[in-house]
Symmetry: D2
Subunit: 359 residues, 4 copies
């Protein structure tokens, strides 16, 4: 194992730079070289490889984003070049393999979410040595207990709730915060529990508007003329839910950002008589400096991925299980979503302190 | 001067509690009593007065919101009670005066924006001793250089820009941040200058889409495939602008929150070919713990308003001019907006470091 | 199980209020009452019990400190009243039991560190039903993987390192940060790894000054004329270390706060020729609003402790093991310290990215 | 005016990079070139000049520190080279002038505190065109109302006070925070007022221990068994004060960092019977990302300094007076300290809300 390549794919996530830094620092200490591939699989197709030395990763640990660039639209197996937008997609996986070979890459480390890791698996099945590193701000990658970036997003959402709280209380309003989570409600559940939400709505639990209204009214009767609602962007009323099967088969239409919060706001104002305002956290959740925990997990992932490459443990993904970083087969992780189970301990704790989960 | 009353009116703003605390602490030291009126002029009509002692203001300095509650819809001169929503508005100013008298209030301190201060002026003209304390997160109250809360909002918007920056750079995107500022662009100008924005759009300078596109393209040519745009919610294209006269006469329809960012996003993506995403900061700008500067200014305002009451300087508003807190006639402050002038020093500095102001 | 009592003992720690809130909220929902005992075991001796209702815990989730007050010097089995300072310590455990009985307390929940939990164990052995909730900012309580407050402290220390970094780089200095950790180096290890430290010194690994100097000099040769050192307050040079046995037997003299950083600073400046400055984080690590993770863990602990009381699982302590909150016998937790083991994964990752651990 | 040089001298301060960026960006727009001189006057003597283009200042706005490096020990008029430590200091001002000439520098912009600006004045008097930009975290430079970095330091100190508050309250302690301010108490006064301190001690007002003890005891009698004290590092008891004359003439010994807080702590614990703890903020005040206000002021200073150079307004310093950036003669600014006057409005407001100023 002499030379590794690394790329970052999919949406921005706090901790990407920490992974890249750990890969470079630990590889160089072991006498290996690292190349970065720019803009995810786009650079893999186009041959945009750059050597990464210690100086290139100096000072990047606290920074959000990725020094390598990323995209969430390039798949080498169905690739459109950017110069001609109407071109028919082509299989350019051969170019990727040739570029890896020309740059004398012995193993490819892919930091990405479900999409990028699926592509990584395909290259592995074509015979190129690959190690995956899970990245999703939503924490919904299967086979790992935790992904870096998630806790930073939760904390930012919690801070937003702390901010909305005083305004809600001063104005006697319902304040709704819409957070990320198209299919899985981890951010909403964790941020809502930490931020003292009164109602938390997640995709896994279709909501009943009557329950929400009752929760708000119970608070009014107890003298609290304000309520805080956290809604995952994929939260759905009973009857309107997506099934995971539909999600996984159909690659459904992206849910329009801002939808659920605005809709809930109109309904709740009418049904409760309280002024109601909605805020969409949006892209702010993906930026910013990672929390300590995310920097540490990202560092452990980077170090472990290099170790896996040295040990020839390919077609695997690094994963956190309990307190240990371990390796799991890539194919157990991709094309599956880790949803909030009904007996999740944080969910049960949220219910125990009286948070309405919409059901 | 034996007993003061204080109320907070209009939208939430960091520093309200710091003003209330300063009023109570400085009054009690001088042997006076303070009553709080709850929920702004609603409580003034309904007689919702509570005594405020040192213990009531203990620990509130760092907290957002207002312990007194606030509303932005109650005008005693045109009042609807909440129990009967379809009631014709009535002049209930007599109730307010009677409640003030029954509670033996010698002077009323009104912390509020243009709306609340206009009402305060009317009561003053009816003969009740009033001192105003300007409050607007937008910093657009005339006759004062600065209002508390503004800097906290600017700083939060700047932090949001820092967050968007790394994502914009990693994804080679245009990121748009829509901030408060319906008529005046102070938050956008200050946050954009501090946050390294490439384009800042404010209501005072109608924008030319060609200029914005050119700014983005100039950056692409210089190797920077991302741009940051800050838009005040009231920013308008050339030809679409509101005039201040129309604003002041007509009390125009509220601009739909989220409008400008989303519209710009669609247009810029088409015109530049760069992925473009928009974020609306919304209510988050009003919450949270005030910055040091806002706490200090709020404290100075509170102390000075009490001093003004003792000195019988009524129908006045406390104001910051240069480095000094002074008093200005209430009628010079209300019904006028402080807009960003063309020769504002921060605006000129923004232009000097190459920020496109849309013109 | 009709009435619970709760007290907080030992040093301040972010998340105490979140535990109290979860205990009250979950108990009230189950039809039970909760009493708070003020100032830890001091209030238990003196009979300072107050009922805690939903309103008493409203709004306390984001706040540092404890609404119940705490002390770290009162032991009912060897108690000195405060009125007469030179009094001989007396066994006042009988007063505690009588106060618990008079207030009709069915079970006592003790939130505390090693000291408070040891006292809790003694009361349990006297026959009073007790459940323990571990609290230590140092994360050194045995039998639990994690304690609330630790991550908030780590994050604050990391932010401090981010601050020191730019100054170190601008001035070409060595900057030393001394953090908590008298016997266990968890905060130093985690904050240092997350904050990009070049050297981390923990009590578990006696340091060799030559190694530290070499690490600094290697950086100078690589063009980096600055270094960041994190030292746990209990870090010791080789030959000067405390053994755990001595710690546990002898209850050694408290280490003088500020000692190690200042000493290292003098030595490193002389040995490397670089300007060296030291900062002691001190009490700042204990304050502030808890991070989301700590609020969630604290909430889970509170809910689980109430559940344990209902299930009559006494003389137990709630603990996190992997991802699950469970119960462990109190006597397995107390009088033992959880030190950083030589094969700790974060420690190994720190070494892999080139951090000098002083050995 | 074709080519400017810029250097940063003295202690680190948030906003230095923002000034450098504004100088480069505004100069380049006007067709000029900028050179950076590394490590303050050290690089001026040694000829360490580097060209600064737009790309060199990209992304530095939010960062603490200075990309140019700085020192606070090099004076070209009395210079020791680092290679031979025991060398007799020599006048190397000729080397500086020759280096400026060789690099074809038309004007030198010096960003620094009293020391660096004094040196700048000497070069100006030797005939080299110089513009000064005041930098001091302490806000004690004469002839300007405000210096960048000061507000960031105040805000960090305020956050520290917020943290100490909950611990003080939970433990019924006196918590002392020692902040920067050797000769002027601006940081202590502002942070203490904003952070709700009970006692603020500044060098300008020698303190009477009896007054402090009385303030603490008055609080105990009012039911508040905790107090917060902020002390500038240069605070002195009555009889122990430094006079400004002695300061300016004698260049007194640096005050040992950590001194006043520790001394006060011992005394207050004895005199009040309350547990007392002290924390020294130290170098943390100088680091971190600048607040919006500091970034904006720094940007205005940078732009205005370039403008001054173009306008041939040499031997001047940019300064903020009221709301306007203006130019003042360098010699009016140096060798003088701006102390807190007895009638400072913030000081009076602090007294009005009951803060004990030690007198």
């Amino acid at each position: 194992m002499k030379r590794l390549a690394v790329l970052t794919g999919g949406g921005d996530c706090p901790g990407l730079n920490a992974v890249i830094r750990a890969i470079v620092k630990s590889s160089v200490r072991l006498g290996m070289e690292v190349f970065g591939i720019r803009d995810g699989f786009h650079g893999a197709v186009e041959g945009d490889f750059i050597p990464l030395g210690i100086n290139d990763v100096s000072g990047i640990l606290p920074r959000g984003g990725t020094i390598l660039g990323t995209t969430n639209r390039d798949n080498p197996f169905s690739y459109r070049s950017r110069s001609s937008a109407d071109e028919v997609p082509a299989d350019r996986s051969g170019d990727v393999l040739r570029n890896l070979e020309e740059n004398k890459i012995d193993a490819l480390l892919v930091i990405g979410g479900d999409g990028s890791l699926s592509i990584a698996l395909e290259f592995s099945q074509l015979g190129f040595p690959v190690v995956g590193i899970p990245k999703t701000i939503d924490n919904d990658v299967m086979a790992t207990d935790l992904t870096f970036g998630f806790q930073s997003a939760v904390n930012f959402a919690q801070d937003a709730l702390d901010r909305l709280h005083t305004t809600a209380e001063s104005h006697h309003r319902i304040m709704i915060l819409e957070v990320m989570g198209r299919y899985a409600g981890w951010i909403a559940l964790y941020a809502g529990t930490a931020g003292g939400a009164d109602v938390i709505l997640i995709p896994e639990i279709p909501y009943n508007m009557d329950s929400i209204v009752k929760a708000v009214q119970d608070r009014i009767h107890a003298g609290k003329r304000f309520s805080i609602v956290v809604a995952a962007e994929g939260a759905k009323p009973i009857g309107g839910e997506m099934t995971v099967d539909r999600i996984l088969e159909g690659r459904p239409e992206p849910i329009r950002l801002g939808g659920i919060g605005a809709r809930l706001s109109d309904d709740l104002e009418k049904l409760t008589g309280l002024e109601t305002r909605s805020t969409v956290l949006g892209h702010l959740q993906r930026g910013g400096s990672p929390l300590a925990n995310d920097r540490i997990l990202a560092t452990r992932y980077g170090v472990s991925a290099v170790r896996a490459a040295i040990d020839q443990r390919f077609e695997m993904m690094v994963a956190l299980q309990g307190n240990q970083v371990t390796l799991v087969p890539l194919k157990e992780a991709v094309n599956r979503l880790k949803l909030v189970p009904a007996d999740d301990e944080v969910l049960l704790a949220a219910r125990s302190v009286g948070i309405c989960m919409g059901d």
